[in-house]
């Protein structure tokens, strides 16, 4: 430890030395800003906060190690290869993107743009009132340091826009927080893609033209997508949608300095983009940031054929505070595990996460019925009836599967795509209400939990011709989802309050039968802006409406949610469809089970369907590594029967095909779960030779070997493409 300290202090010394040298040699030019130009604002027991007023640039110094985290590009690290706009972007503590007329490509910052600013002292920090004189808008940035937490905030009340045609589009606070140059500093950036992914801070040799840039909680369907995607034969989209950002976090770790941070977007996260740009994307620096979106431009069509359009800026900006909380991490904590643990503690403390029953269950979902065209109407294609489920349950019970979680999809009258579900009315073809209720009650007694699936978001546009309950986009046109499907190819979104009342109606008719197990999808993982009756609603409005609905439902039901966004976690009894991988961006260097570490032992997680995974062995190992429970989608009938239905993409679901796999997975996962039950993950390491070591709070260690050779580690031999459960040494 002492040597480590020594190295670090030496490093710091060297850094200062480097900063001094050039400052002297170029004295005749504009003097370089160095650390000595910064003034101490405040200090907590572990960090000192310095400020350089002209650029509103801050420095954070770790009092123990002396390591410094910079928030803007320092003059001595400036490679001088960037143009004025980029230099301004990099050297300013705050960057504003603004709309002039209908063009949103302008930038204002504190380095090049004319502005006034006044500093005020706050308890534990400072506030800065900024006003851009030419653009005529401004706001206050408050920076406070408490313990190891740095809070950067723009209060809603301080945002002013005085010009009639110039508006703030986006605000980035300290976009260069903790930046590094090329491969100079070892470490990585944490990206909230899928379960979690890392971009290593290595020299990328200019290979990437873009980095990670995704809106928190997914893209906004309320705005028309302006890019025209390229389709196979002009019709089929072969590219899968990338993962949504489920939690509003990002992070930076400088592993050699053992310093880093986890950033949580605390306010304004509903309309905010997280960016993580590796070097080579415009400039030679690695940086990650949150960009708050206040206002955007959209395309307003003027007629039915969309031949006449005008581009408009939104009438009003989004209202609400903007805030990013940086958790400063050092020493052992300055890695992705530390970030995950910090985030978990934060969520638990805030009450955004609560301990749920995490006992092991294999998830086996069923498809009840779908429809295919017949004469002038449709006819039901029944895949799994209640009796079939009973038979499957008996079969699995006899094979030693003691507990199970099932989601029953397409149980309702009219089949899977009969949406919305207004009341509890099961399809006759699967056995009707009576049998369904009996099945749920009976299997519950036997430890098999059967949940009914309800997509609270969509309206089937082919069977519901009226669109008054359908969501209208910002441009007042109905929001449509048009999948290339055989029977139904038009879907709308229900208005959030309508979705709430429909769902509550369903819940009351369902729970009146004495059952209450509900799997809610659709509204658990979507946010959009919309307009209704002349008013404009933001993503935050949608989020709060959905949260209200979900909260009310969770009071009356045993509720599990399909891939819920972080603000709904506390209402969920289980997290369905947890991604274990990433979206396969080329600039990602590694996938890490970030969300799994956050949730393991607190909220049970279930994976995507094993059926449709091409590489089942590796997928299974990933489940073992991340502590996510496996999921299967089965039908009693052969899936070939679905060929003329909307569900024709379910190409392999027959129970007899998967029976042995289900039993095998159940046996193995149950064993692991027994050793880790209720425990949380405390460490996750990727060792050499393709082995990952996951340590649990109860001392259990799980080794996963992804390589093709057996590997010895900690005295255990882990077989090729296999895993081992051991004890901590």
């Amino acid at each position: 430890m002492a040597t480590k300290k020594k190295i670090l202090s030496l490093l710091l010394a060297a850094l200062f030395l480097f900063t001094l040298l050039p400052a002297i040699s170029f004295a005749d030019e504009e003097p370089m800003v160095t650390y000595s130009d910064y003034q101490l604002v405040t200090e907590s027991d572990s960090y000192k906060l310095y400020l350089y007023e002209p650029r509103m640039s801050i420095l954070l110094e770790n009092k123990e190690t002396g390591v410094i985290l910079e928030s803007t590009l320092s003059d001595e690290k400036d490679d001088g290869k960037s143009n004025a706009i980029w230099t301004g972007y990099m050297k300013s503590g705050v960057v504003v993107q603004y709309i002039k007329g209908t063009n949103n490509t302008f930038q204002a910052e504190l380095f090049n743009s004319d502005h006034t600013k006044t500093y005020r002292n706050l308890k534990n920090g400072f506030a800065c009132d900024i006003y851009f004189t030419k653009e005529m808008f401004g706001f206050t940035v408050e920076v406070t340091l408490e313990g190891k937490e740095l809070l950067v905030k723009v209060p809603e009340s301080s945002i002013r826009e005085d010009a009639t045609d110039t508006f703030i589009s986006a605000i980035s606070l300290f976009p260069f927080m903790g930046y590094t140059h090329l491969g100079d500093t070892a470490g990585y950036m944490l990206v909230p893609d899928g379960n979690g992914a890392l971009i290593n801070l290595t020299d990328k040799e200019g290979r990437f033209s873009t980095g990670f840039s995704q809106m928190i909680y997914g893209r906004d369907d309320g705005f028309t997508d302006s890019t025209t995607p390229s389709y196979l034969w002009d019709k089929y989209d072969t590219v899968l949608r990338s993962n949504n950002v489920i939690a509003p976090v990002f992070g930076m770790a400088h592993t050699d300095e053992q310093q880093g941070y986890l950033a949580v977007v605390e306010e304004g996260q509903n309309r905010c983009t997280i960016e993580a740009q590796p070097n080579g994307v415009m400039v030679a620096y690695n940086r990650c940031l949150a960009k708050f979106l206040l206002r955007d431009v959209y395309i307003q069509p003027l007629n039915q054929s969309n031949s006449g359009t005008v581009t408009m800026a939104e009438v009003d900006r989004g209202h609400g505070d903007l805030a990013v909380r940086y958790f400063l991490l050092s020493g052992e904590d300055a890695d992705y595990v530390g970030m995950a643990l910090t985030y978990r503690d934060y969520l638990l403390e805030k009450g955004a996460l609560a301990k749920k029953d995490t006992s092991y269950k294999t998830r086996v979902d069923f498809l009840g019925a779908d429809v295919e065209p017949f004469l002038i109407s449709t006819k039901s294609v029944t895949m799994t009836t209640t009796e079939n489920i009973e038979e499957i349950y008996n079969n699995l019970r006899n094979a030693g599967v003691t507990s199970l979680l099932s989601v029953y999809k397409g149980w309702q009258k009219g089949g899977y795509y009969a949406l919305p579900i207004n009341s509890f009315s099961a399809s006759k073809s699967i056995g009707g209400n009576g049998k369904l209720v009996d099945l749920i009650k009976e299997s519950d007694e036997n430890g098999y939990d059967l949940y009914l699936y309800n997509d609270g978001l969509r309206i089937n546009g082919d069977t519901n011709k009226f669109t008054m309950n359908a969501v209208k986009k910002v441009n007042k046109r109905t929001l449509k989802e048009e999948p290339v499907k055989q029977v139904y190819d038009l879907f709308y979104y229900q208005m959030p309050n309508r979705a709430g009342s429909v769902l509550m109606k369903f819940v009351s008719s369902y729970t009146s039968k004495g059952v209450n197990k509900l799997a809610l999808a659709g509204i658990s993982n979507i946010l959009y802006s919309y307009s209704s009756k002349g008013s404009y609603y933001t993503r935050s409005d949608t989020a709060s409406a959905y949260e209200k609905t979900v909260a009310a439902i969770s009071n009356n039901t045993d509720l599990i949610l399909e891939q819920p966004f972080s603000y709904l976690w506390k209402y969920a009894g289980a997290f369905l469809d947890m991604p274990v991988g990433s979206s396969d961006y080329m600039f990602l260097d590694e996938e890490v089970p970030f969300l799994s570490i956050v949730l393991k032992g607190t909220l049970p997680m279930y994976s995507d369907y094993v059926n449709f995974e091409a590489n089942k062995t590796e997928f299974f190992l990933q489940l073992v590594e991340s502590g996510v429970f496996p999921s299967f989608y089965v039908t009693y009938e052969n899936s070939a029967a679905l060929i003329y239905t909307n569900s024709s993409n379910l190409y392999s679901t027959e129970f007899t095909t998967y029976r042995d796999t289900i039993v095998d997975y159940d046996k193995q996962m149950r064993q692991i779960a027994a050793a880790t039950d209720g425990a949380t993950i405390t460490n996750h390491e990727k060792l050499s030779g393709g082995v990952t070591r996951v340590t649990y709070s109860n001392g259990t260690v799980v080794y996963v070997n992804y390589s093709n050779q057996p590997v010895s580690v900690d005295g255990y031999t882990v077989d090729a493409l296999s895993y081992k459960v051991g004890e901590a040494q």
Binding site: T238, D256, E590, S648
Partner: protein, 684 residues
């Protein structure tokens, strides 16, 4: 100070190293950002199990990066040769990213194509700006240079700009040259490059429209038209048997060709790449085609599409998507190498378990080992029970095993008409064999029974009751009219007289007949035997069918009436409607027969149904013509005139409806535009 600095640097280095080891990249590729599609028997696009996983991306070999590379070749021992166009050289490397050699530096100007012979590792490079094909040995020694052929057959004014080259076992080069539309240049290595001729020439196709245009255009206009020059193949490949594969863009169904040594195309059906960039032969009689936009197509040896996957990168930079593909290769392990000129990288894909099983089945099946191919096919179908190719192969395999019921089931799933027919023939044959005696007994018994009953009836009149009843029914007004339709069918001239003068015209009877016709039409269309079916299974458009029938009968009746009234015709609307409806009688009587036949006949015997149908439609036509003639009391000449006029009137009416529709659409558009404007202005 100096020592201290060294310590600092060292410690930084160590820290860096430690950090690197701690997070050593072990990237797992469990998911892919693209979907995989296959085709159903009807040519519908269906999603399927991921066929290939994006496995590795090669951006450089050793420290040598590529610059706008245009071609890649992978040998059997997995050496990768890249025509590194931007750096004017050929790079040799391997999957681990190691550099094994650099060939042709200083000699090559703009290498666009590369080919390596397996036997002695001779490297052929097509150099566009060097205007030659260079032959090197594996160590980079230049062995031969083949410049522009001197033969007058090549064409004196043609330049020689080779962009792709393949070489067969005899050392004969097949070269695609830029701006040479004569075909693939075939050069023998003897005598320093003897021109053998053009190979696999594409033919220019002229559509009917072009031909008409050409006939009526002036010379100046003709000169302006896009020249009708045959397109040059964009890329080519050679397989182990020496067959040449070419891809040509804009050639629609002939995009992919497999040419034998005589230049004859062996494939002519396939769902094709829109902008084909490259082609390569696989190890299982399969072929891969890469689209410039990153779609990869795999075909079996008959040219049926097995998969299509991949896609265009929209700038989000996801692994396995491409920007601009120029070459594709498959190695002995079935891995695919996709060269992207824009990204200057080679993306390697590896087959999934599903694909490996399919390849195994494909191979066994093509070798005629049907029974052996069933095991892998079964596994394929477990993973995707809708995979059409597997269903078809499975059907054929069961057929070989003489399990005809299963063969029938799979053939129907796969829409394999031939297989279905064969299996059905066998099943019918077996049924006939089993039941022939019973059938004969039943027929004889029935015959005897009828005779006995007839005798009894004659003697004792046991059917008098029934007879009276039927008489009383048929003598009802409506029923008698319907019965009259039967008479009209047999005696159209007398029948027509009856319609016009004896009060046999009837709204009710005609409408009932039209109703029966409609029902029979629908039943036949949707429920006839599988082999006669013209619509897809599971597809029903009954409303539009009924609508079309009603519109047609309405148009025919009204137009015919309009024309007749101004041409001294004697027909009223009622009479005209009646003769048109009565004329449908042959259809009403014969379609049930066709329906039954369609369920018991195989492909070879389908002509019987066709014969019946020709008879039926001919009869209907005769009845209609005679109806028009007799009811209106026209001469034959007048009848022809009336028929032509009626057709013309129908045409005009259709045009009128179309114009009204278009105008209405305009009005609607206008109103909605005003509404849109109001919505936008009011902000509502």
């Amino acid at each position: 100070m100096e020592r201290k600095r060294t310590t600092i640097i060292l410690s930084v280095f160590c820290a860096l190293l430690l950090a690197f080891v701690a997070v050593s990249p072990m990237f797992s590729y469990a998911e892919t950002p693209y979907k995989t599609y296959t085709l159903s028997g009807y040519g519908d696009v269906q999603e399927t199990q991921t066929a290939y996983l994006a496995y590795e991306t090669l951006v450089k070999f050793g420290d040598e990066a590529m610059n706008r590379p245009n071609d890649v070749y992978v040998t059997d021992d997995n050496e990768i040769y890249v025509a590194d166009t931007g750096n004017a050289r050929v790079l040799v490397g391997n999957l681990e990213g190691e550099l094994l050699g650099i060939i042709g530096e200083g000699t090559l100007k703009s290498p666009r194509g590369v080919f390596v012979t397996e036997e002695n590792k001779h490297v052929y490079v097509a150099d566009r700006d060097g205007e030659a094909v260079f032959e090197f040995d594996r160590n980079g020694k230049l062995l031969n240079t083949y410049g522009k052929p001197t033969s007058p057959l090549y064409g004196d004014n043609l330049s020689f700009m080779p962009i792709k080259v393949v070489v067969n076992d005899a050392g004969i080069m097949f070269i695609i040259c830029e701006s040479n539309t004569n075909g693939i240049v075939e050069i023998s290595p003897t005598e320093g490059g003897m021109f053998l001729g053009y190979f696999g020439t594409n033919f220019a196709s002229a559509s009917l429209r072009t031909i008409i245009y050409r006939a009526i255009m002036t010379d100046a206009q003709r000169a302006k038209m896009v020249s009708n020059i045959p397109s040059t193949p964009d890329n080519l490949a050679i397989d182990e048997r020496g067959l040449i594969y070419t891809v040509t863009r804009g050639d629609e169904s002939k995009t992919l060709k497999r040419l034998n040594i005589a230049g004859i195309n062996l494939i002519d059906k396939s769902r094709n790449a829109t902008i084909p960039a490259a082609v390569t032969a696989g190890n299982h009689d399969n072929v891969y085609v890469a689209d410039q936009n990153g779609y990869i197509y795999e075909y079996n040896n008959e040219g049926d599409l097995l998969y299509v996957f991949g896609g265009k990168d929209d700038g989000s930079q996801r692994i396995g998507l491409s920007t601009m593909v120029t070459a594709i290769q498959a190695d002995k392990q079935d891995r695919l190498y996709l060269l992207d000129v824009d990204k200057a990288q080679i993306q390697v894909y590896t087959p999934t378990e599903f694909t490996s099983l399919l390849h195994e089945a494909l191979y066994l099946y093509s070798k005629g080992l049907y029974t052996e191919s069933k095991a892998p096919l079964e596994k394929v179908l477990q993973m995707n029970s809708m995979f059409d190719y597997a269903n078809r192969a499975m059907g054929r395999a069961y057929f070989q095993e003489e399990n005809y019921n299963m063969a029938l089931k799979y053939a129907r799933l796969a829409k394999d008409y031939e297989g279905y027919s064969d299996a059905y023939w066998e099943i019918r044959n077996q049924w006939l064999k089993r039941n022939i005696t019973t059938m004969i007994i039943v027929i004889v018994l029935a015959f005897v029974l009828i005779k006995v009953l007839k005798n009894l009836d004659q003697k004792k009149g046991i059917f008098n009751g029934v007879r009276n009843l039927s008489k009383s029914i048929w003598s009802k007004d409506l029923m008698s009219h319907i019965k009259y339709a039967g008479y009209y069918m047999k005696h159209p001239i007398d029948g027509a007289y009856g319609i016009s003068h004896e009060g046999h015209a009837s709204w009710g009877a005609s409408t009932i007949l039209l109703g029966i016709f409609t029902i029979e039409y629908l039943v036949y269309k949707y429920l006839c035997g599988f082999l006669q079916k013209t619509v897809r299974e599971g597809r029903y458009e009954v409303l539009s069918d009924v609508g079309i029938i009603l519109v047609v009968i309405f148009a025919v009746t009204v137009c015919n009436y309009l024309v007749c009234t101004i041409n001294d015709g004697e027909g009223t609307v009622k009479k005209i409607y009646t003769y048109f409806c009565f004329s449908l009688m042959p259809y009403i009587l014969l379609t049930p027969v066709c329906f039954v036949l369609s369920h018991v006949l195989t492909t070879n015997e389908q002509f019987l149904i066709n014969l019946l149908q020709i008879l039926m439609y001919g009869w209907i036509a005769v009845l209609m013509v005679l109806g028009i003639k007799e009811v209106n009391n026209y001469t034959p000449k007048e009848t022809v005139k009336i028929i032509l006029l009626t057709l013309f009137t129908i045409l005009i009416m259709a045009l009128l409806v179309f114009i009204v529709y278009v105008l209405w659409a305009q009005v609607f558009e206008f109103i909605s535009a005003i509404f849109g404007e109001v919505v936008y202005r009011l902000g509502y």
